[in-house]
């Protein structure tokens, strides 16, 4: 259903000279909400780096200017649906309603990939994103704390009828900001979350979508907070955009933690 053409690789490899700020994360074994196999095995993560903040409108505007094939009026429809960047005043201008420091939203997975490639990076995997987002301000893994969950659920309880806030705010244990409470974020393997989530029944990869069955796949049944994000990501195709969906980039390796 969601076969992803690999055409994007050819599109934007030329790196723009942007000094995006990346945090170093150690990786290691990690208890994902979606276990690696039927025996609830932990996933293993190599050290990686993650952008401290989501990509902003200002950054994406600079990217679009440098790579006009990603302007909303020039992008190939197979890579971005018609709502791509529709909130901007023009194809190359944010306008008064859209703030430069808001996270960019209404971007497709293909566009997000191309942006990350342009700064020599890639989209994080779900497990990398989940690993970073398990932290709170003081702990690497705060997921068992009801306060951590409540903070996430509170965001879900806010209707998204007003504008997305600007990036920034408190950093988590790894020095990464806005993983919760601001936007949804693309991950590299968003379309594999369902299929890879449970190897017990490969004949029924759609089970997450049905009544209650999704809970069977999850190690942590009452962790609705994480499940909601998986549900959102699994509803998408690569060219889709939504008003609350942005992204940040990742890189392999430890690197220096600036």
């Amino acid at each position: 259903m969601k076969t992803l053409p690999c055409l994007f690789v050819a599109i934007a490899v030329a790196a723009t000279a942007q000094a995006a700020d990346y945090a170093s994360l150690p990786g290691g074994t990690f208890a994902s909400a979606l276990p690696a196999d039927a025996n609830n095995a932990d996933v293993k993560l190599a050290p990686f780096r993650l952008r401290r903040e989501p990509v902003t409108n200002a950054e994406f505007l600079a990217f679009v200017k440098a790579h006009p094939q990603w302007r909303r009026d020039q992008v190939a429809r197979i890579f971005a649906e018609p709502r791509y960047l529709q909130g901007w005043a023009a194809a190359d201008r944010l306008g008064d309603e859209v703030k430069p420091e808001q996270p960019v939203t209404e971007v497709s997975w293909f566009a997000a990939q191309a942006f990350c490639a342009s700064e020599g990076a890639r989209l994080p995997s779900w497990n990398e994103w989940e690993f970073a987002a398990a932290a709170d301000a003081t702990r690497a893994d705060a997921r068992s704390d009801p306060a951590w969950r409540a903070g996430i659920l509170n965001w879900y309880a806010q209707p998204s009828t007003h504008a997305v806030a600007e990036v920034g705010g408190a950093a988590n244990f790894y020095g990464v900001r806005n993983l919760h409470g601001l936007i949804w974020e693309w991950v590299d393997d968003f379309n594999a979350l369902l299929v890879a989530s449970d190897s017990r029944d490969q004949n029924d990869p759609d089970r997450l979508r049905f009544c209650g069955a999704g809970a069977l796949n999850l190690r942590d049944r009452d962790n609705y907070a994480v499940l909601m994000r998986i549900a959102l990501l699994s509803s998408l195709k690569g060219a889709d955009t939504t008003g609350n969906l942005g992204f940040r980039c990742a890189r392999d390796g430890a690197g220096e933690n600036r």
Binding site: P159, S160, T161, R209, A215, L227, L232, S235, T241, T242
Partner: protein
């Protein structure tokens, strides 16, 4: 649906096997004489005929008009998912997720054998993906997989409505419980081919349980509380998604000597409803929305994710109260609605002596506007004593007047008076403690002894207590004064005073 279909088919097989063994013959003879039409296929009347029809969808409590059609048709249903903030009680808002902008969602009415083309649109402003599982669908997931829709997108699938009946539909996106708890359910009626018997009024009433982090009627915007939802301890149990959705000037209406049909659904997510109309007996119930008719029913169970059709004839004018007769839900969590019947008295059937305010509680008031006004004023820091008194009067009518009477006189020897009360005047602050902790044992008020039990009124919020007490202190010849929300809050956090030496 898949399960029920399988079971039906299984039942047919069993019936055939049994009849063959016992040689009773009737069933197997029928089966041999006609082509085998199993289970739901009885409802397949062939391909749709004529031009496609756009279904009339209605918001609760309204029901689309009956279908007068003798052929199966293609019916197009367009539902939009909207996430929006709406009131759940006076001065309390909640972020609902809705089918069509209302809780419950739009009512869908089709005819058995119709081919239904369902379009599900997810509003671009939505945060969440959604889908729809209609219990009236024969097919895996009830349409859920075919309609999984990201924000700003639309999906479509088509099904044939093989089984007649009243069916719940709901969102089945993970986590299902949260989507349902936020209001994502509604009803679809699949009429029998011959239609339904004509009645004077049809109404759409659907129960749901809601889980907020704040307590019942705590003012302001209230987020969803997952812990309460998992524990199945709702803050609100409501008809049509809003406390007061069907009371006051929004009450359902009928006249005497009319027939009323209620399409009653229960979205859950957790509770099973003991649906009852105070003062009426259901002449006919189709339990669980199926085809068997039951008669002369007082209370019918409506399962979560299930429905019932109830009919009754109105004989006597007055207010009839729809409740979940798991009764604390009605009086302490909001599961109340009113059917107002106008017409001439019929003293031969009912003397008319009953006063409905006892049953209605404060929901009998058309509106609690003064309460909302006071809450807003307090938030703005401009609350006046007069606003407190006005709000307190409305709250008193519901909570206190049943015992202490609307005029504050109480009932001699049973319920102490609040009017010109020397007990109250001696220590007005003591009244705060009594509301919080109740009063148990002998007291002397205006030279009369009272020895009964007043339960704690701790379900009242701080501002509600402050307003009620300020009203009482400034009414019926009492000395005046003012109790603030902050005073009540401080008293509530303080430990309960030692019980006054009970005089047994």
């Amino acid at each position: 649906m898949k399960l029920s279909f399988t079971l039906t088919a299984l039942a047919v097989v069993l019936a055939l096997g049994t009849s063959a063994c016992s040689r009773s013959g009737a069933v197997s003879a029928d089966a041999a004489a006609t082509p085998v039409v199993a289970g739901s296929q009885h409802g397949d009347f062939g391909p749709p005929q004529g031009e496609p029809i756009h279904a009339v969808l209605t918001s609760p409590p309204n029901v689309p008009p009956p279908i007068h059609r003798d052929k199966p048709a293609k019916v197009i249903v367009e539902l939009e998912v909207v996430e929006k903030e709406m009131p759940i009680s006076e001065g309390v808002t909640y972020t609902f997720w809705t089918f069509g902008g209302t809780v419950p969602g739009s009512f869908i009415r089709v005819r058995q054998g119709d081919t239904v083309e369902l379009h599900l649109k997810n509003n671009p402003d939505s945060k969440m993906p959604h889908n729809i599982d209609l219990h009236g669908v024969t097919g895996p997931g009830g349409g859920a997989a075919s309609t999984f829709t990201a924000p700003g997108h639309a999906s479509q699938f088509t099904f044939k409505a093989l089984n007649q009946g009243l069916y719940v539909y709901h969102c089945a996106t993970a986590p299902v419980g949260m989507h349902v708890a936020n209001g994502m359910y509604g009803l679809i009626l699949v009429e029998p081919p011959e239609g339904m018997p004509k009645v004077d009024h049809e109404y759409y009433v659907m129960q749901g349980d809601f889980y907020t982090t704040g307590k019942y009627r705590e003012k302001g915007h209230q987020p969803f509380d997952m812990e309460k939802a998992i524990a199945e301890q709702p803050t609100y149990v409501l008809f049509n998604g809003h406390e007061g959705a069907l009371t006051g000037d929004k009450a359902l209406a009928a006249k005497t000597n009319e027939t009323v049909r209620l399409f009653v659904g229960n979205g859950g997510p957790n509770l099973v409803s003991s649906f009852h109309v105070i003062g009426e007996i259901f002449d006919t119930v189709r339990p669980e929305g199926g085809t068997v008719e039951q008669h002369n029913v007082q209370t019918t169970l409506v399962p979560a994710g299930g429905a019932a059709m109830v009919e009754f004839h109105t004989e006597v004018p007055g207010s009839y109260v729809l409740v979940d007769h798991s009764i604390f839900r009605a009086f302490n969590k909001g599961a109340l609605a009113i059917l107002k019947v106008d017409g001439a008295e019929n003293k031969a059937i009912y003397s008319g002596k009953e006063v409905d305010s006892v049953y209605l509680g404060d929901r009998s008031e058309p509106n609690l506007q003064a309460v909302s006004t006071a809450a807003k004023a307090h938030a703005a820091g401009t609350l006046t004593k007069d606003e407190q008194i006005a709000a307190g009067k409305q709250l008193f009518t519901g909570t206190c007047s049943v015992c202490h009477q609307a005029n504050g006189e109480g009932l001699p020897g049973v319920f102490p008076p609040l009017a010109k009360s020397d007990y109250l005047a001696a220590d007005p602050k003591r009244a705060v403690q009594i509301l919080l902790h109740g009063l148990n044992g002998k007291v002397t008020v205006n030279a009369k002894d009272y020895n009964s039990v007043m339960p704690p009124m701790s379900q009242l919020n701080d501002d509600e207590m402050a307003n009620i007490l300020t009203y009482v202190l400034n009414s019926w010849g009492n000395p005046g004064g003012q109790i603030t929300k902050e005073e009540v809050a401080a008293a509530r956090t303080a430990p309960a005073p030692a019980p006054a030496a009970a005089e047994h």
